[in-house]
Amino acid sequence: MPTATSSYLVLLLLAGAAVGFAAAPLAAAWAWAKFFSPNKPGQDKNAIYECGLESKGDAWIHFRSEYYLYGIIFLVFDVETIFLLPFAVAFTGLPVGAFMAMIVFLLLLVEGLVWAWRKGFLTWN
């Protein structure tokens, strides 16, 4: 059908215009750089930017991955505190189920602490 074809043609034209809108500035910048602005690389210019100082050493250095253990142990105490305070406030009005759930939660965290203790992670080295 001619009407359907022409309506799709409009879409095609718009899509072309959209791509052109994005590509034309890039092409213009490329052409400008090619015809007017010469490339001027230099030793300093190609170097890593480090506040004017020459960078020393390698960027590929080892970080101590053990640190994540301290992060996790901190979380044990952190999360425990957050839940312990409302637990203590609502302690007298708690049903048995909620109390047991809380005890299980605490035991889980304490188990983690005991594991870390036995592994020797609590000793700073």
């Binding site: 602005s37 010469p38 001027k40 230099g42 030793q43 300093d44 210019k45 930017y49 004017g52 100082l53």
Partner: protein, 203 residues
């Protein structure tokens, strides 16, 4: 090339005629992005200039870039010590062309009140091609704005082609400036003779 008379005649009739060169320079002059780079108290005035009261944004120069890769303009705002001078030159080298330098304040121009000091560089123009110098200690934000406007005038008058075209359009002129190194007594070299042309004073 269109004549100036014809251009103004057409402009009176509501037809604006321009050249590629003018269009290019117009765009460049109104989007001068400075480097976030302060060395001393002049930097406080530079910050004030970019804030709401003085509003450097009116001149398209409020986008202070923290990386030299994205900056067009280095505002040497403050005292350049001899320890800092190689770093300043190096950062300038790391900026892409076209790039400009404003020496802001007495210290950046000449060493200012610290000129006699053993550790102060006596003017940034010993190592870098300074485009605009602002006197003052420190210069007020209006003075910085005036310097930006002066720089804009300079940019607008630059040629795209021809023998007097600016450095960034001339492939024969290298873009890097020699970075001084610390010697036993002073920076070596103590100046870049390619950019430093002090006036000859005959007594």
């Amino acid at each position: 090339m269109i004549e100036e008379g014809l251009k103004s005649e057409l402009q009176k009739q509501g037809v604006y005629v321009t050249t590629l060169e003018d269009l290019y320079n117009w765009g460049r002059a109104n989007s001068v992005w400075p480097l976030t780079f302060g060395l001393a108290c002049c930097a406080i005035e530079m910050m004030a200039a970019s804030m709401a009261r003085f509003d450097l944004a009116r001149f398209g120069a409020e986008v202070f870039r923290p990386s030299p890769r994205q900056a067009d303009l280095m505002i040497v705002a403050g005292t350049v010590t001899k320890k800092m001078a190689p770093l300043v030159v190096r950062i300038y080298n790391q900026m892409p062309e076209p790039k400009y330098v404003i020496a802001m304040g007495a210290c950046a121009i000449s060493g200012g009140p610290f000129k006699q000091g053993y550790n102060v560089l006596k003017g940034m123009d010993r190592y870098l091609p300074v485009d605009v110098m602002i006197p003052g200690c420190p210069p007020r934000p209006e003075a910085l704005i005036h310097a930006i406007m002066t720089l804009q005038e300079k940019i607008k008058n630059q040629k795209l082609t021809g023998p007097d075209r600016p450095r960034h359009l001339n492939a024969d002129i290298p873009g890097d400036f020699p970075v001084p190194v610390y010697g036993p007594h002073d920076l070596e070299p103590s100046k870049n003779p390619g950019v430093w042309h002090p006036p000859l004073i005959k007594r």
